[in-house]
Amino acid sequence: MPGLSFDLIAMQLFTGLALGAIYVLFAIGLSLIFGMLTVVNFAHGAFYMVGAYVGLFLISLGGNFWLCLVAVPLIVGISGMIVERFLIRPLYGRGIDYPLLLTFGLSYIMVELIRIGFGTSGYPFDTPDLLQGAVNIGIGYFPLYRLFVIGAAAVVLLGLWLFLERTSFGLIIRAGARDPQIVRVLGVDVARVWLYVFGIGTAIAGLAGLLAAPLQGVIPEMGANILAEAFVVTVVGGMGSIGGAVIAGLLVGVVISMTSLFAPEMAKVSIFALMAIVLLIRPQGFFGRAGLMS
């Protein structure tokens, strides 16, 4: 192929990592919620979409992007906690399908409410002034904002890791994922922990939506597409595994951007092919424990 230099491939690799960073943030929330609550949150895409719209709304009120980086996760996380407390909590112990079905119905409601509030057509989302332009990263000029997305995802991951590994609340969360029964016996209010975990997971989804907005624009349907792709990430990485979500998320981002370089029409299909291969070779995913889901 003419004009296909090493630099071009390296640039495309970085583009893939930026895309993958969004997947990682999205999938990590999904994984965290599943690992703790055994709830597959079908409304995760809707929370992601709401995050982008809350950002849009705050900026239209005169706020700036940096304020949104704090306010959006907070607002989306609190709405996630309300959902957990009043809608999902009554369904614990009723079988694993019911919370899934409920969040699926909820995603319809959330998408439709956004359509009522903001209309059915999409909006562009301006890249913040400070992050416009490109920087030389040694192999060529790379958009600054994409670099920022990779950095932001790394910061969130580091923060989450420190929180889970180094705080006593994180210890409770990890113990609760292993055996909620024992944790409850030890006198921990597990219901409250679950509430916070759901809040943290949805907050990260909202942040991912905000970060994705300048890259892809904002439409009410943006959550449904990423949900299917995030499922690929969780299947490849192994459900309930944070490390798996990180590696698989980056891998899926890179696979998409590489196939869109070599065979653009196969870009969407390629990641599903990746999932099919993983399913054939290792059904529980890279980091999933066999028999966890039975």
Binding site: D97, Y108, A224, F231, V235, K268, V269, M275, L279
Partner: protein, 330 residues
């Protein structure tokens, strides 16, 4: 003594009550067929009635998997859509007669189910919903890009079937009521086949796997194979529904493959009552009536449908038909 008298007078009545319920259960396919035959009399909009039949059949196929086997699939649009596209392609690109086209649709749904099933069955529990949804999304993109065959974004146009000829008789497929009864013929056939499957020993195995997988396996049944076969059977029903939808709409829109078509059948099954024979039809009717009535009043009918669904999950997990059955069961 008084108690004894009471129980003696009550006992025969109880048996009699149970008898009518059991009799109704035994002849469920017949009763459902009778309902399908008289349905246009109470349903003034025949085009909507045809839709209810088609989506009822789609939900019936889905319910075989979800209600009876206990596997939640979020990728049934791929089976329904493949049935519709193959039926349409047979007519538009190969000018084949309608009955061959319908057979192609059923085969298409079956083959797609075998393909998706073979991959998805490898995972268990909650993974299944995610894998089927992702694979269906993949099928969506594939059909979207095969523009020469499927028309891509514009959909597959020109499926014009004007008359249905069978056994020397000719039916005018343009006439709404005739069209209804042609579709009803296939639906009734499907109802009998499904009833037969469920009443067979294999049907008992399906429910055994749902109730207790470990025990079914210990009893010597091949759980994985049972799941795959049920998924493929479900695909055959959904393929038939898709083929009928193609004939009815005379176009196959790409949206038929979309995630929302998968979600819709989940909603219909749960609204009607999963794991009941007739529930999916009730669910399809309620869903489509709600969609049509609410959209007269607001374009945001999905808000309403979503809310009804959430209330159903929270408070009436047995669904409308399931709740009715619970009440009348003696």
């Amino acid at each position: 003594m008084a108690m004894n008298e009471l129980s003696q007078t009550l006992a025969p009545a109880g048996v009699e009550q149970r008898n009518w319920f059991e009799a109704a259960k035994r002849h469920r396919a017949l009763l459902a067929s009778l309902f399908v035959l008289v349905f246009p009399l109470v349903m003034p909009f025949t085009a909507l009635a045809v839709n209810i039949l088609i989506y009822g059949l789609y939900a019936l196929g889905f319910n075989l998997l979800f209600g009876y086997l206990g596997l939640l699939s979020f990728g049934h649009a791929a089976l329904f859509g493949t049935g519709a596209y193959l039926c349409g392609i047979a007519i538009v690109h190969f000018a084949l007669p309608w009955y061959v086209a319908i057979a192609m649709g059923v085969l298409g749904g079956t083959a797609m189910a075998a393909l998706i099933g073979a991959l998805a069955i490898r995972t268990r529990g909650i993974y299944f919903a995610m894998v089927t949804m992702a694979l269906a999304q993949c099928v969506y993109y594939l059909f979207y890009q095969a523009i020469d065959w499927t028309g891509g974004e514009n959909g597959l146009r020109g499926i014009n079937v004007r008359a249905i000829d069978i056994f020397g008789m000719k039916f005018d497929f343009i006439n709404p009521l005739t069209r209804y009864y042609v579709v009803a013929g296939f639906v009734i056939l499907a109802l009998y086949v499904l009833s037969r499957i469920l009443a067979s020993p294999f049907g008992a195995v399906i429910e055994a796997v749902r109730e207790n997988e470990a025990r079914a396996r210990a009893s010597g049944y091949n759980v994985t194979l049972t799941r795959l076969i049920t998924f493929v059977l479900s695909g055959a029903f959904c393929g038939l529904a898709g083929a009928l939808a193609a004939l009815h709409l005379s176009i196959v829109p790409i949206e038929i493959m979309h995630y929302e078509t998968s979600g819709m059948v989940v909603m219909m099954s749960l609204l009607g009552g999963m794991g009941t024979f007739f529930g999916p039809f009730v669910g399809a009717a309620v869903f489509l009536l709600l969609e049509n009535l609410v959209s007269l009043w607001t374009v945001h009918w999905q808000l309403f449908v979503g809310a009804v669904f959430v209330v159903c999950v929270l408070f009436f997990p047995a669904g409308i038909w399931g709740t009715i059955l619970k009440r009348v069961r003696p």
